[in-house]
Symmetry: C2
Subunit: 216 residues, 2 copies
DNA sequence: ACGAAAAAGCGAGAGAAGCTCATGTTGCAG
DNA sequence: CTGCAACATGAGCTTCTCTCGCTTTTTCGT
């Protein structure tokens, strides 16, 4: 898992130019991920990461300005991956599905992603607290994707609506499935269903508002 | 703000028995909160907290096993406060309101709470990452409250449903309003409305399911 | 009122973590 | 071949959390 090259260490530090150092940087990232998952970000020490990755600390700090930057880079790898996954739902094949089926698959897709990438949880648990800006950035990408999709799902959505709806959907799905992924399987399954119901009824209320008994 | 006594330092450390020390403990908590808000949890140092609160470090560590315990205790203060606020929605006066109005006030109540307690954000941003168990505990209280309320709102909910619905509502409202509270006022307002819509349609779908065009 | 036990007060400094820096080595372009 | 940029290295500086041994104060039974 996670074998692709480190795409964007960038920021303000040295970027590996030579093949050998690039390989070392990736080894650092892989080791760091494993240790973060196992012990948590706070408990992990840069010394241990360096030791296990078999590079001296000095070398680690040549490519990462600080410990947080390692977490950042890992978060970016996952963010890109999830966003890529969601892109599928912008394709023609998906857009022609009935709304209920579309929502069902979307929510399940996110659920599957979390199940298949246990590292995501470990990395983002830390990110949310340590660097809120980064999470915002990751979600922002998803929100933009969603904002682009919504008009194609139903032309009843005004452009301004789309932004708000996309925001709500991304945050609600993201958070609920996130939490569900930490629950026992049976309840997790139920929460996934509820999330689908929540989103479906929300979307339907726009194109087809209720005017029945209870409300008002 | 936050003038009530420190209800539960408890855990594994010494509890202040004498009036003087109790006052000191509360001073530590108030100072810590201010510093956490201003600089963030990680940047705050125990030495500074102790210095500003005008107690020696040794004394601080007599009542708090570690830095995290200070954050914990602050989180408990806020959790209790929010839960207290939500209790209002279990009263007869509220329960007789039409569902749409009930949901409106519930969501707005949470929004108001966040606006009136800026410290809540600062404290819980840290908590979520540092001690996920604590957040769970805080929400668990709210979920139980909600689980008790739901059957009174609509007897169509089965007992098993109630647990899942309460879970979804607490997490969805909590997260969305939380995020909204960090947005510019105009968009914040819009998000509050959307959250109301989201929850209302979700609840209505249980007592009065749609069988219209789009779905299926 | 007295004395002992319990609680609180205290801060130097141990221990450990993140990160730096001075210095030496290697790769690559011209 | 020459020279500059990239890379390598690890002792140790800085700064943080938390401990420990000791003194002083409060509480309370007699």
């Amino acid at each position: 898992m996670v074998k692709q090259a480190a795409s964007a260490i960038a920021r303000k530090w040295r970027q590996p130019k030579q093949a050998h150092s690039l390989e070392r940087v990736n080894r650092i990232l892989d080791v760091a991920e494993a240790i973060f998952i196992e012990q948590g970000y706070a408990a992990a020490t840069t010394k241990e990461i360096a030791a296990v990755a078999e590079v001296p600390i000095g070398t680690l700090y040549q490519f990462f300005p600080d410990k947080e930057a390692i977490l950042q880079t890992l978060a970016e790898r996952y963010s890109d991956l999830l966003n890529q996954q969601v892109q599928v739902f912008a394709t023609e094949a998906m857009l022609v599905l009935p709304l209920s089926e579309y929502v069902r698959q979307l929510v399940e897709g996110v659920d599957t992603f979390f199940l298949e990438n246990p590292g995501y949880r470990a990395v983002f648990v830390e990110i949310t607290t340590t660097m809120p800006e980064t999470e915002e950035a990751g979600d922002q990408q998803l929100i933009q994707t969603m904002t682009g999709i919504l008009p194609k799902l139903n032309s009843a959505f005004s452009p301004e609506d789309c932004e708000a709806i996309a925001f709500v959907l991304v945050k609600a799905i993201g958070n609920l499935i996130w939490i569900a992924s930490g629950q026992p399987p049976a309840f997790r399954q139920r929460l996934v269903q509820e999330t689908q119901k929540l989103c479906l009824n929300y979307l339907q209320s726009y194109s087809n508002p209720r005017i029945d008994l209870v409300s008002q």
